[in-house]
Symmetry: C2
Subunit: 515 residues, 2 copies
Amino acid sequence: MNGAQALIRTFVGSGVDVCFANPGTSEMHFVAALDDVPEMRAVLGLFEGVVTGAADGYGRMAGRPAATLLHLGPGLGNGIANLHNARRARTPIVNLVGDHATNHLAYDPPLASDIESLARPVSRWFRSSVRADALAKDAVAAVQGAFGPPGGVATLVVPADLSWQEAGEPATSRPGAELDTVVDDAVVGAAKALGSGEPAVLLVGGNAVRERGLVAAGRVASATGAKLLCETFPARLERGAGIPAVERLGYLAEFTIAQLQGAKHLVLADALAPVSFFAYPGLPGYLVPDGCEVHTLATGSDDVVGALEALADALGAPPDAAVRQAPVRPDRPTGALNAQTMAAAIGALLPEGAVVSDEGNTSGLFVSGATAGAPRHDWLCLTGGAIGQGLPVATGAAVACPDRPVLSLEADGSAMYTLQSLWTQVRESLDVTTVIINNGSYAILELELSRVGAGDPGPRARGMLDLKRPDLDFVALASGMGVPATRAGTAEEFTQQLERAFSTPGPALVEAVLR
Amino acid sequence: MNGAQALIRTFVGSGVDVCFANPGTSEMHFVAALDDVPEMRAVLGLFEGVVTGAADGYGRMAGRPAATLLHLGPGLGNGIANLHNARRARTPIVNLVGDHATNHLAYDPPLASDIESLARPVSRWFRSSVRADALAKDAVAAVQGAFGPPGGVATLVVPADLSWQEAGEPATSRPGAELDTVVDDAVVGAAKALGSGEPAVLLVGGNAVRERGLVAAGRVASATGAKLLCETFPARLERGAGIPAVERLGYLAEFTIAQLQGAKHLVLADALAPVSFFAYPGLPGYLVPDGCEVHTLATGSDDVVGALEALADALGAPPDAAVRQAPVRPDRPTGALNAQTMAAAIGALLPEGAVVSDEGNTSGLFVSGATAGAPRHDWLCLTGGAIGQGLPVATGAAVACPDRPVLSLEADGSAMYTLQSLWTQVRESLDVTTVIINNGSYAILELELSRVGAGDPGPRARGMLDLKRPDLDFVALASGMGVPATRAGTAEEFTQQLERAFSTPGPALVEAVLR
């Protein structure tokens, strides 16, 4: 079999059986091989930012990598922003990049570029294959590189000639994530700090913010009075009725400072010590209060859930000590459609088992609170700050979870980065409900412009943040890609349209025009 | 004045007075400074691929750089594909990338990444600023770096704190491109080869394919009988009635081989020796025939026009020896709308002085022939093979040339990469007529799939190249961004709609549905 076939068969044998793709000429043998290896599901994206973001959403929900298929350096370049987000989310992804045939690179043809230099900043593992008969081995190493732990982007570059040469048999090993064991000293240290009676914060993130980790963390909090907080933008947070609720660190440094104020101990469970998202003139970037001692219970490659359970046991916390969220939903809202009523409608209607891809930015502020007591669901955040993540992540999550409804909560400015995702949702009949929050601006930047101390902005500065002139019509844009779409201008309209979208299989879009 | 103000004022003083921008928090001081420096025109793009591609189109037409304004590594990442094209076009661009404040980087906040590693592959000049009071000097060096020669992308990274610190006065020097002088030996060598009587090809590209260079090349061809060819994808080719016509090298290696067959001498005038775009199993990548001697008359940093004129003089070619293209247009087509009739309509209607941004790919094949005798115009090609260039380049060209009509000839698959360009065209009231060639597929890949010898493709392979399921409705998509749009299904409809679009100021889009 040729290299492309050996590679795809090895992926399938390694548990990687979904490939988000936007191929070009140098990847044509992979495309041809799809008919030889029907176990591999190939999902076409109209733009590489869709491809890599979908692989991120898939990996977060499936717990194993999807592959991508990207066309040389420029194809990789288009996917970098969402690979950056995936890197921050520690999502396992096998990022497959085609390159020119080995002996063709010497001619520096138009599409040649330094792929490794582009790939390194987003990849925890990188290799450029050099022999067709080693491709199967390279593929296994790439999958293992994606699993880590910690998980991340493994980029494998495959020159075109290797994909068409004879490559022997596929490899059969099946990589996976093997977490490091619990470090007893870390548990003892954290128990001592939390048991000291001094004000303390337990900060959870990464692998700690799904039910088992949150139950253990909730036991610790109940037993010690420690404040339980979660990182600002978790990759995948399990929440809703029945799950211990956890307050997220604020995006704005001022909020974070208030949340941590007075703490003498900060215990980190797969989370980093809080720093501000950006620096501001005259403000601190490192947000741990002076005099607060930082204790690391577990990092991303450790068994953080095991560590939290050991910690809870060490503190003598009863198994049922965690406070679980009670079921509660807001009433269906009426009147003007604004950030609050939009949030209330989502809280009133969010289906059981939903996966929420949250790129609502400023306007999504109230949604978290309004859905806290909704039936249990997963919440996927903008981990790396590179906008254009939400729609692709929703797409990939829906591929990973065909039986779960997906809500894609998307700000207007961010939506325009990777709107092509809608087309893939139609093609793959994915049950994604997209809510576009249309406030006609990069509202978060209006906030930031005032925060960086740049003075009173004039009309030209404001013009750079405004998304009117012309208005964006998301109903037309969605229709252009085959997604049924409606526009809501009141709370009643929004509630009714959202309810219909949730109850209809396949993709749908509701444009929420906020006042 | 602060760093942002000093930098922008220095740019303006250096002749860089247009900035294509998609800023974020780390660039807010630049945004605020726009009201202090009204000489700088800031043009907002909804995605960084629009920003960098527009800077490319601007630079090709203006002959001097625009600035970009990009948000950290991910913002740069989104712009890399079109920077790759700009690198291949040797377009001068000052690529301004904001970064976190210097002392904030140590905390590795979510948006931090290795910007230099991302920037190097597309930049001929790179610097990360380290002091506010050196920003003005850095800006001058960046502009000079963009001019070269050869021209290219100069990337300047500016940490946020430098933009808000006191920075002193702007610099006042005015960089520009100073070409190397003509190398006499190269002229003598080329003259000897071309005067030998043996079959010869003169291959022109880069700076040689505007009127003066083509006139000189045409004199050489007339005097010697040498075949005059032009590189496959010139950055900016001047052509039409009154300009010496030049045949472009074929995209397909088979065509190039036929064009060069029998040549004993190949003289390169700011062009590279032909290589195939991609490698194919069993086919050569280097396309110069065996036994053909290659002579370099001038490279990209040389005065290639001067060299061609010296060569023509050395060969005794009379000043008026170049054969100029006669004015001729096809008739207005009737009947079915296909690649030929679409091309005929464009040939029949292309306005005097038009700038054509050509990303028509396979379907645009006939347009070049149909417009050869149209009134003089400029032709901008996909230089680096990274699709998604056409609409942004058209946008930037229109900013550079407000008094010239712009035709954006765009394939459906490529259009979906950077369709957000349409919004900027509306916002800036740019006179761009976009023709979307909708054939419902990545047609060029269907061709490539058969060419790489990957066997007879099955339905799953074909599915990766097909842009149906669902169909793309470009009229709806354009309307969603405020561009008046119509759909043409016959040659008559297309001709009529194109005529109306050309005669109406501002952006318009015609979707050509090919049979």
